[in-house]
């Protein structure tokens, strides 16, 4: 009962039970519906405790065996395609499981206050429970197709939650966009899985595939193609360039959803997938540099778009996209440097990011709650007195996101930059990694700037409150502020507590068998003994502080007055570099036109068929003065056809 597998299975199934209970409440529509959050909060809380127990058990396992795999249960199998329900608990999945359930607990608690009195309260918690279940399944799955199943499961929950305010056209459109854009990436993901299946001895189990492929290396180009196809899925899910466009729109969902799904958990699934598949990616330097470049382009592009957004949640959304880009940059160095270090850097940033970004979103939600649903920063300001707790927690999150020294985000961002620096000193693509290091530094500067721009616009300057706020304009109740405070502690301290001095996090991940396998498969040198890189940290801090001070200078009054010089730059940023418009003109419109043309052509095809069917009518009219209809003609044609064909066949055989 106490082995990690059982614990993980229980932790995973608790949210499913919560989902069933909340669904029952949603369908019965009684007064009990207002307790729909209870199952989820309890399930997540218990799961989080179990998750932490699993973590300690994995850490305590003897050094040879840090991986626990459950017995497979066949889901479906035919021929060589065998798909089983099987979970794996190793350091990577244990960290993710504990983190996801822990954060979900607090977000669920926050949501119970935030969503109070909404029409579809029970529906909200039913879908959210299903989401947490799917996310846990995604983390634990040890079979690629099972992973896809949960991967799509979180996608559909995201769809339903983004479209929560379904009567709002923008929410309806955003939900569809989120589902379709991620699904486009999933096409590549599925093809990649089948390519691996074909190359990898007809395995679909992750661990079996890695064992097979690292022992019998397949054709290099095929493997690279498979890795890039897998990466397509990650690009869609983790909102990377060019498929990032859905994430900012997904902010149409309720804010706890943005915090949970679109910042802390689901969007990191792509990073997690690549971390899992490190043994494959470590063998393909070409795929890795692509991953790093996509991450770099996304990081700087999204940070730039985030500079001038008026919508507080959108600033945070673009910041999420940009930070995910950081993680992919780190992942992309695996192979050039030891994949163990690359994955650790990415996972560490994922871990701290989950805390501070969830915190920032929830604080923004608290602001939004007080402002009566208004989130446009031009319409409110100077809220630091009105919302003292929210103000302080937001500040903690902002400092962490801007990577100010000693905050959690500082340590993890430093590790990402360090991995890029190592890679730039490596053997292959050194120039590329060096450029990416610069990209990382520029992004750090922009991150600090936009974060503090948002902070100052919201909390400083003269107090302004929109009229929608009404009687809501006060600090949120305890069940919303307590989660904020808990997460704020995480945003401040979790980084320093687990990595820079005791290296607990990296030692723990270091034991993951897949990472060791990846290291063995790569041609990377043994990493040098870890020591703090003062130069790099100094340059990184300087970039952050520069951004921070620029924001302070420009927004010290809590209002936006732009010098004429930067106005065009901000206009480009505000209009999101017109990427949505370009996509609309390049893909969406032509798709619609093509569909219309196809439908028109179908009318033409039908006309051709009718014309052909008119031939017998004309013939009949021509052959016989009395027109008897068509059935006879077909009987005749049958007989004729039979004769002709049989004589033909007989002729061929007789020859």
């Amino acid at each position: 009962m106490s082995d990690p597998i059982t614990l993980a299975l229980v932790a995973m199934s608790l949210p499913l039970v919560a989902c069933v209970l909340a669904t029952v409440l949603a369908l019965r529509k009684g007064p009990a519906a207002k307790f729909a959050h209870v199952p989820l909060v309890l399930a997540c809380g218990t799961a989080a405790v179990l998750g932490i127990v699993v973590l300690t058990k994995v850490a305590a396992a003897d050094s040879q065996n840090h991986r626990f795999i459950s017995d497979p249960m066949t889901w479906f199998a035919a021929g060589h395609l065998k798909v089983s329900f099987q979970i794996v608990v190793d350091p990577i999945s244990a960290v993710m499981l504990a983190m996801v359930t822990f954060i979900s607990t607090w977000i669920a608690l926050f949501a119970s206050g935030y969503m109070h009195g909404e029409k579809g309260y029970a529906r909200f918690f039913a879908v959210m429970s299903l989401f947490v279940f799917s996310m846990c399944g995604l983390i634990l799955a040890n079979n690629f197709l099972l992973l896809v199943a949960f991967w799509e499961g979180v996608g559909v929950c995201s769809y339903l939650l983004v479209g929560y305010y379904f009567e709002k056209p923008s929410a309806a459109a955003a939900a569809r966009k989120a589902f379709l854009v991620t699904r486009l990436g999933d096409v590549g993901f599925i093809l990649g899985i089948f390519l691996l299946w074909k190359m990898g001895g007809w395995n679909t189990s992750l661990t079996a595939l890695f064992d097979y492929l690292t022992k019998t290396p397949p054709d290099h180009y095929e493997l690279t193609a498979a890795c890039l196809l897998l990466f397509c899925g990650a690009v869609g899910k983790s909102a990377q360039f060019p498929l990032y466009v859905w994430l900012p729109d997904a902010m149409e969902g309720p804010t706890p959803v943005s915090a949970l799904i679109h910042a802390a958990t689901m969007v990191t699934a792509g990073v997690y997938l690549l971390a899992r598949c490190a043994p494959l990616f470590a063998m393909c330097p070409e795929a890795q540099i692509t991953v790093a470049w996509v991450g770099g382009i996304t990081a700087i592009l999204a940070a730039f778009i985030g500079l001038a957004q008026h919508d507080l949640k959108r600033v945070l959304a673009y910041s999420t996209v940009s930070q995910l880009g950081y993680m992919f940059m780190a992942l992309g160095t695996g192979g050039a440097i030891s994949p163990v270090f690359a994955v650790t850097a990415a996972m560490f940033h994922l871990f701290t990011h989950a805390f501070f970004k969830a915190l920032l979103f929830l604080s923004a939600g608290s602001v939004m709650h007080a402002m009566g649903g208004v989130i446009d920063m031009r319409r409110f300001g100077g809220l630091r007195k009105l919302l003292p707790v929210t103000h302080l927690t937001f500040l903690c999150g902002a400092a962490s996101l801007a990577a100010l020294p000693l905050f959690s985000g500082f340590w993890s961002k430093d590790m990402v930059l360090e991995s890029l620096e190592f890679a730039a000193e490596g053997e292959k693509y050194t120039g590329g990694y060096f450029v990416l290091l610069l990209v990382g530094l520029v992004t750090a500067f922009m991150t600090a700037f936009y974060t503090f721009r948002a902070y100052l616009l919201t909390f400083w300057g003269p107090e302004r409150i929109p009229e929608e706020a009404g009687h809501h304009a006060h600090e949120s109740p305890a069940r919303m502020t307590v989660p904020l405070m808990v997460l704020a502690v995480g945003a401040v301290a979790v980084g320093i507590a687990i990595e820079p001095f005791n290296h607990k996090f990296s030692h723990f991940l270091n034991d993951a068998p897949t990472l060791q396998q990846a290291f063995a498969a790569s041609k990377a040198p043994e990493p040098p003994p870890h020591k703090f890189n003062w130069t790099l940290a100094g340059v990184g801090t300087a970039a952050s502080l520069f951004g921070l001070s620029l924001a302070l200078v420009m927004y010290r009054n809590g209002t936006e007055k732009l010098p004429a010089l930067v106005e065009p730059v901000f206009a480009a940023s505000r209009n999101k570099l017109y990427v949505d418009e370009i996509y609309g003109a390049a893909f969406v419109k032509p798709g619609g036109v093509l569909a219309f043309l196809s439908a028109a052509f179908d009318g033409f095809l039908d006309a051709v068929a009718r014309l052909i069917s008119a031939v017998p009518r004309v013939l009949g009219w021509w052959v016989r003065p009395v027109q008897n209809g068509l059935v006879q003609f077909y009987a005749l044609s049958m007989a004729l056809g039979l004769t002709v064909l049989l004589s033909f066949v007989a002729f061929r055989i007789a020859r």
Binding site: A78, G79, H80, V156, L160, P169, Y212, A609, I653
Partner: protein, 599 residues
């Protein structure tokens, strides 16, 4: 298990049940036509009785079929042939052959165990048709339930024709005599013709019915030519007599091909080349009817008008069951009777058409304003995927396609059934008329989302499993020049395309600001959410989609041995067409996976 099968179901019971499953719908049709207004209750009862019969057949047969050894398919002989079980009219000790002759072409009376030129009432169950029969039996229930209110005119006759349609489809699925199959196959046209032409709600119904009838008849007459061609060119090697029994015919076809192959190996390839030439023409003729019936682009133009003009209950059956006759026919007859041509031209030619059709029909579906038309085109698009997988001609592809025929029947039938909800209340299925129904009909919205997501292949629901198997089949297909990778890419892309139009429909109809067409009668009470009748219809469909999505393995297990029979024919045909396969590292490594371990 086989012991239990022997004890619980004495073979006689099984045979009687199979016979009843075929004949009961025709009796039910006669009976229900006696009733007028109350016909719908009687019809529902009869449909449920038939469902009970089909379920007992499935229960008994799956006990037996699941224990068949997949590796024994035709081992020790030069051919593989279908082994139908529970054959009515079989003699003791000769389970796979019937003695009921309908028509004899020779003066000498047929003797047991000997092939000859007799048309026989040869029906039986195997892993390929079992679940399709169960589907046909099941889908009549929602079809009746959604017609409950909308069909008011001559109810008895309507349900009678519905049962004839069901009986003909069941007969076609169960037939193992090529002529008997053809009779049932054509028989489906008659009830469909009357159902569309007489009970269709629109003004263009007669035209649609005529187009449907003539188009499919024209195709299937060519199929008859093909069937007769196969029969005539493949006599029994020892007696020289022709046969209409499908298993015997399969054996003969493989015998002649193997004989020619042996000659070719000895340096005289002329005979094999001639046989391949014949196969090509027979393949074309056989495919004609199935291509129209399925339908495959560009022979699909009868479908939008037929599905659109038919009353919704009939559309449910047409899309769920009749369309499967096309793909099932390809699997049962084309692959087995012209295997070499199916290998040489199946994926390259028909597969290319099907792949084009997938994309083309998806685009057409997106452009439709009417949800019924959208669902009709979506059916064309999905079935293109099945055709691709059938022609992959390997275990994953064939098993996946059989499973997908069942799954697609459930989910497409369900999507049409859902439209009845709207059509009953507002007399229109035009997308532009609706909006925000999620707030208006929350319970309906839940069911609609589940069923629509099933049809876009969401994991956990049924279509995902079969789509993955079919994709696996396409990845494993051995075609020269890696053509199958392109087809697999298009097939995978179709998963995106289907969500493209379905999600757009959901956004317009269920999300967005509320909008509904004016109610039928002014001053009437606003239409309510799903009533208990609709709840049973949609709920049972949704539940089945969920069950088959989570636990599909029992279905796959029953068909394993029969899929192996088909793929063994495919493997042999590939050797004849492409030569001996090169032994690759991957194939060797895969060997240990073959057995029954891992379960």
């Amino acid at each position: 298990m086989d012991k239990i099968y022997e004890i619980v179901a004495a073979p006689r019971t099984g045979r009687t049940l199979v016979l009843l499953v075929v004949l009961f719908p025709f009796l039910a049709a006669l009976f229900v036509s006696l009733f007028g207004k109350r016909g719908r209750r009687v019809a529902l009862l009869l449909a449920l009785v038939h469902l009970g019969l089909a379920v007992s057949v499935a229960a008994i047969a799956s006990m037996h079929l699941g224990t068949r050894d997949e590796l024994s398919a035709g081992r020790g002989t030069d051919h593989a042939k279908f082994e139908p079980a529970m054959v009515p009219g079989a003699r003791v000790g000769d389970d796979g052959r019937t003695a009921w002759t309908l028509m004899s072409l020779t003066a000498t009376p047929p003797s047991a165990g000997r092939a000859g030129p007799f048309v026989q009432f040869f029906v039986g169950v195997d892993g390929l048709n079992l679940w399709l029969v169960a589907l046909t039996s099941f889908m009549v229930v929602p079809a009746i339930l959604v017609s409950w209110e909308s069909v008011t005119e001559r109810r008895g006759a309507f349900y009678a024709w519905l049962f004839v349609l069901q009986g003909a489809a069941v007969g076609a699925f169960l037939s193992f005599d090529v002529i008997l199959f053809y009779v049932f196959f054509e028989l489906t046209l008659v009830p469909a013709f009357f159902l569309i032409g007489r009970w269709g709600p629109g003004s263009a119904r007669r035209d649609a019915a005529r187009k449907f009838f003539l188009y499919t008849l024209a195709g299937s007459l060519l199929t008859l030519v093909g069937v007769v061609g196969v029969v005539v060119t493949n006599p029994d090697p020892t007696t020289g007599q022709i046969t209409f029994s499908l298993p015997d015919l399969m054996a003969n076809v493989q015998h002649w091909l193997n004989a020619a192959q042996a000659e070719a190996a000895a340096g005289k390839p002329e005979k094999l080349a001639a046989l391949h030439q014949t196969q090509l023409w027979l393949f074309v003729a056989l495919m004609a009817g199935f291509m129209v019936k399925t339908p495959i682009f560009p022979f699909h133009t009868w479908l939008p008008s037929a599905y659109g003009e038919a009353p919704i209950g009939v559309t449910v059956l047409l899309s769920a069951v009749l369309a499967k006759l096309g793909t099932f026919g390809i699997l049962r007859f084309v692959l087995t009777l012209t295997p070499d041509a199916a290998v040489a031209y199946g994926l390259p030619v028909v597969g290319t058409l099907a792949a084009f059709g997938i994309v083309y029909a998806a685009l057409c579906a997106y452009a439709q304003k009417d949800m019924k038309q959208m669902a009709a085109y979506s059916s064309v698009s999905h079935l293109g995927f099945v055709v691709l997988a059938v022609f992959a001609f390997n275990t994953e592809g064939v098993a996946g396609s059989v499973l997908h025929m069942v799954n697609h029947g459930l989910s497409t039938g369900a999507v049409f059934a859902l439209l009845a909800f709207l059509a009953d209340r507002y007399r229109t299925t035009s997308m532009t008329q609706y909006g925000g129904l999620m707030g208006r009909f929350p319970n309906f919205a839940v069911l609609a989302f589940v069923l629509c997501l099933a049809s876009v292949g969401l994991p956990g629901l049924n279509n995902f499993v079969s789509e993955m198997l079919m994709l696996g089949g396409l990845f494993r297909a051995d075609a020269p020049k890696n053509h199958h990778y392109a087809l697999a890419g298009i097939a995978a892309f179709s998963i995106f395309l289907s969500s493209w139009y379905i999600m757009t429909m959901l956004q317009r109809v269920f999300f967005s600001p509320p909008k509904e067409p004016p109610a039928d009668a002014p001053g009437a009470a606003p239409p309510g959410d799903v009533n208990s009748r609709e709840l049973i219809a949609f709920g049972s469909l949704a539940a089945l989609c969920l069950v088959l999505g989570v636990y599909p393995q029992p279905v796959l297990d029953t068909m394993r041995a029969d899929v192996r029979i088909v793929t063994r024919i495919g493997d042999d045909a590939r050797v004849r067409v492409y030569g001996e396969p090169k032994p690759t590292k991957v194939l060797v490594a895969a060997e240990p996976n073959n057995g029954k371990q891992d379960r």
